[in-house]
């Protein structure tokens, strides 16, 4: 009883898990201290801050918060490494790489991943593996710009994108739930099919011409008051509407999935569908709904590529594997909204950085693009705490 008592007395802000999160943030600060706008030139600054991060991580690991704790340790080591590297680089190079735009750019790159990862999470929490995110995203990208072009309004484009992504998700759902086919196979089929369908109709409807200029695109949101501030203004003062929608969807999906009866039902279908069925939850309907929502979210991410940040354009295979990075982000984030978002931001950051690294070395910048996949591979291998999917993820359910 004493252990339980002492556990309950600990304020949440001082629990090992929370401390570990502080440690992870400190690791980032260690790196941040060496880059603009602070640009500490002495290597001791990032080293000292990083040691604090590692210490927090070790403390948390020794008290049971293994996964987040090791994350903090890794973050501290990375922070020291990158921070020291930054202090030894010329400040001119640093200024071109690390500007306030970088934050805006991270958010731009992270947004399709956020939508995709949240979509994948909803589907997999309900027990349907969705490796077709890439295809659904691609459908959203093409039909989004088509809708915006023919409908004359970006909002029509979003609606068409949602319908297209939802339709492909419906195919996946029918195969996975009704026909009880293999979910990975039908997911891969969705990817191939989407590649063919979008490419075919792009050629058919637009031929060799591109999408005409002046297609209605999703507007940016200029926040009055902060859009003219120094540093903060260029960072978040004038972001695309969908970026904000994506950010809002993160706590929203957390709330719905983990704090409402509806979310409990969805998760029950993914953990133990038989038990869910026994207490009167319609497993089939729940899974259908989850997969379709998943496809719509992925399609939103795709629409952001074509009529959001893309400025009303489309190219064949436009998503270029972003659906798979979104899948990776979801796994890396351990099938949780904030985790997935954090991973999406991290992967977005690595992509944004890769676009700026050529000032140092072009080959290294290319190699940097592989980082998200390496990290996810490490995460599924369970080196730093294991990623654990919902228990019934990928298993077809047959009513009795």
């Amino acid at each position: 009883m004493t252990t339980v008592g002492s556990f309950q007395q600990t304020h949440w802000a001082f629990r090992p898990r929370t401390i570990a999160v502080y440690g992870s943030v400190l690791g980032l600060v260690a790196f941040w201290s060496a880059i603009p706008p602070f640009t500490a030139r002495s290597p001791f600054v990032p080293i000292v801050i990083g040691i604090f991060a590692i210490a927090a991580g070790v403390w948390a690991v020794s008290r049971g918060a293994r996964r987040v704790g090791w994350g903090a340790v890794a973050s501290g080591i990375l922070g020291i490494g990158l921070g020291v590297l930054a202090t030894r680089s010329s400040s001119g190079n640093l200024d071109t790489v690390f500007t306030a735009d970088l934050i805006a750019q991270v958010l731009v790159f992270a947004t399709p991943l956020t939508f995709g990862a949240l979509g994948g999470m909803v589907s997999e929490r309900a027990g349907v593996v969705n490796v077709g995110l890439e295809g659904m995203m691609l459908m959203g990208a093409f039909w989004g710009v088509y809708g915006a072009d023919k409908g004359g309004n970006w909002f029509v484009g979003i609606l068409v994108a949602l319908a297209a992504g939802g339709l492909f998700a419906l195919i996946h759902a029918y195969w996975a739930i009704h026909l009880r086919g293999d979910q990975i196979i039908s997911g891969m089929a969705i990817n191939f099919l989407a590649l063919g369908v979008t490419g075919y109709f792009f050629e058919q409807l637009y031929g060799n011409k591109n999408i005409p200029a002046g297609v209605s695109t999703i507007p940016n949101v200029a926040i009055p008051g902060i859009d003219h501030l120094r540093f903060v203004g260029p960072a978040i003062g004038d972001l695309n509407l969908l970026i904000w929608v994506g950010i809002i969807f993160v706590p929203l999906s957390y709330f719905v999935l983990f704090k409402t009866p509806l979310g409990l039902r969805v998760r029950a279908c993914g953990e133990h569908p038989r038990a869910a069925d026994t207490v009167g939850i319609n497993v089939y309907a729940t899974r259908y709904a989850a997969v379709i929502v998943s496809g719509m979210l992925a399609a939103l991410g795709g629409a952001f590529l074509s009529i959001g940040f893309g400025g009303g354009s489309f190219t064949e295979n436009m998503t270029e594997g972003r659906g798979f990075i979104a899948l990776a982000a979801m796994i890396f984030g351990n099938w949780r909204p904030f985790g997935a978002w954090g991973a999406a931001l991290l992967f977005g950051f690595s992509t944004a950085l890769a676009f700026r690294l050529p000032v140092y070395s072009p080959p290294a910048a290319t190699l940097f693009q592989a980082l998200p996949y390496v990290l996810t591979l490490i995460a599924v291998a369970g080196v730093i705490g294991r990623s654990i999917p919902p228990k019934a993820d990928g298993q077809p359910y047959a009513k009795q």
Binding site: F192, L193, G196, V197, Y200, F324, P362, V380
Partner: protein, 529 residues
């Protein structure tokens, strides 16, 4: 109990499906035979044709153009002109070049499938093989031809095996799902290859640093061509390596202890572990062998006709992903994978460079290929659906009471065939194959039997099946596959063949007490054994 020997041979659709895909696939495999993949492909092509028609093109001319572009019409140019100056012969050689790659990337998916693993990482393993073959081909330029080629192929296969082995190792040690890890390894390989061939990369060419391309493979590492000119991308001897790989695949799976254990693990890992098989080790071995196939594909491409590869080529390459469709359509068997690779090889070449742009726009057709690929994978993925259709068909057939009591009178069969100019004979072939199939629960079935008879195989197959029916009942078979030789003699020989078949069938149906129309099939087998 004999019924315990094959518990999953007949999975009725109303039962809960087994959670392991490999088990269900195995059941579907036994159920469908040749017909289901053929139906799957036809359905996919039909659906693709509907899209083509709906967008205002003529699907017939489109498919005809793809057929010609793939060089398939060359097969009907008799006498065959093997000179590749002839455009059809050239097209076919190009189709076979792609078939070579697809056979190997298909095997890379098929082999682990038999172990219950789904390898999506064929593309990555292929790229690793490509990169290593390029490195060996460029850097060991002083070597003589044969060792140089062998070194390139061996190193690439080994690298592919190691790359896929990572996924197998992770699955075996930490339980990381192979689908996730192979997807990640794919993208690591894709970016890695772009780094290596890209600007400033270690494998970039030395003479033009502005071009993000590899250096050209030295002449000594080129695999010689045997059909067409080596200057015009002729068909190289790698084709035979791929055919040999099909044989090796079959041998490993069906004639070695490793293959037996791999299939046992694929069928039921728990039972295999209980039977003393080291399941983890099989996972690693299956993935490594799969990666070796894919790495081999990369080597044959690089040393056979590509010789050079650039960053843009890496981004555009999809051939490893096509291996998934090839393996699934080929039902993870050696022959099936070979045939499916030929189909997709023709489709890939016939919709791109082989296609006459005046007939059908290649940029549309290339996407049509992706669509058909997606549809085929989609249809194969619904194994329960296929099983359901198949079992429903069989149920209908059983209840229809299809074998007349005591078989059919031989004289009537012969006379009817004679007076209908052989039309009844085709129907008779269909019925006989279907009945034999329903009785034995294996075989090619009615349509397959007729199709195979057209190419001459069926006349040997039917007596062989009938002979086996007798053997399975513990009786001396009156005929065997050799009886098919009668059909070689024109007219009279065919009639004698037919009579022999019907006599044997009548003897069987008359002697077997349990008539297939009256008793469910499973029960008859238990009585028999």
């Amino acid at each position: 109990m004999s019924s315990n020997a094959e518990p999953t041979a007949n999975v009725p659709p109303e039962q809960e499906p087994h959670p392991d895909f490999a088990v269900r696939l195995g059941a579907a495999q036994r159920a469908g035979g040749l017909i289901v993949p053929v139906l799957t492909a036809i359905l996919a092509f039909l659906a693709g044709g509907i899209v083509v028609a709906a967008t205002g093109h003529n699907p017939w001319t489109a498919y005809r153009g793809i057929w010609d572009g793939a060089g398939f019409n060359w097969l009907f140019h008799i006498p065959w002109d093997t000179n590749t100056i002839h455009i059809d012969a050239f097209n076919l050689s190009q189709t076979l070049l792609i078939t070579t790659t697809l056979i190997l990337t298909g095997l890379a998916v098929a082999f682990p499938f038999r172990c219950g693993l789904f390898n999506i990482g064929g593309q990555g393993q292929y790229l690793v093989g490509l990169v290593v073959a390029n490195w060996v081909g460029v850097d060991f330029a002083s070597w003589p031809t044969l060792p140089h080629v062998l070194l390139g192929i061996g190193a690439a296969a080994f690298a592919g095996a190691a790359w896929a082995g990572i996924a197998g190792f992770l699955k075996a040690t930490t339980g990381a799902h192979e689908v996730i890890s192979t997807i990640m390894l794919n993208w690591i390989a894709i970016w890695g290859a772009q780094y290596l061939f890209g600007q400033g990369g270690p494998l970039q060419n030395t003479y033009n640093t502005a071009a993000p391309e590899s250096g050209p493979v030295a002449q000594s590492a080129h695999i010689p061509t045997f059909w067409g000119s080596s200057l015009l991308q002729g068909l190289d001897y790698g084709f035979f390596v791929a055919i040999a790989a099909l044989v090796v695949f079959w041998l490993i799976l069906n004639r070695t202890t490793l293959g037996y254990e791999v299939r046992a693990v694929g069928f039921n890992p728990e039972a295999a572990a209980y039977g003393g098989i080291n399941v983890r080790r099989k996972y690693i071995q299956a993935m490594a062998i799969s990666g070796a196939f894919a790495g081999l594909a990369g080597a044959l491409d690089m040393l056979g006709y590509l010789f050079q590869f650039g960053v843009l080529d890496v981004q555009a390459s999809q051939i490893g992903f096509f291996g998934i469709a090839v393996a699934l359509l080929g039902r993870n068997t050696a022959i099936g994978t070979g045939l499916a690779a030929f189909l997709f090889g023709g489709l890939l070449y016939g919709t791109t460079r082989g296609l006459d742009p005046n007939v059908f726009d290649p940029s549309l057709a290339g996407n049509l290929t992706s669509m058909i690929q997606g549809l085929i994978v989609l249809f194969v993925g619904a194994d329960i659906f296929i099983l359901y259709i198949w079992n429903a068909r069989r149920k209908v057939r059983r209840s229809a009471g299809f074998v007349p009591d005591g078989g059919r009178p031989v004289g009537m069969v012969l006379l009817l065939s004679f007076f209908t100019f052989g039309l009844y004979g085709i129907y008779w072939l269909y019925r006989s194959f279907a009945e034999v199939r329903a009785e034995r629960d294996s075989g090619v079935g009615g349509v397959g039997g007729v199709l195979l008879s057209v190419i001459g195989v069926g006349v040997f197959l039917l007596p062989s099946y009938i002979g086996k029916m007798f053997t399975e009942r513990g009786r001396r078979p009156p005929i065997s596959g050799w009886t098919g030789c009668w059909a070689i003699f024109p007219y009279l020989g065919g009639l004698i063949w037919m009579a022999k078949m019907q006599l044997a069938l009548n003897e069987y149906w008359g002697a077997v007490d349990v008539h297939p129309t009256e008793t469910p099939h499973v029960a008859t087998r238990e009585v028999a054994t």
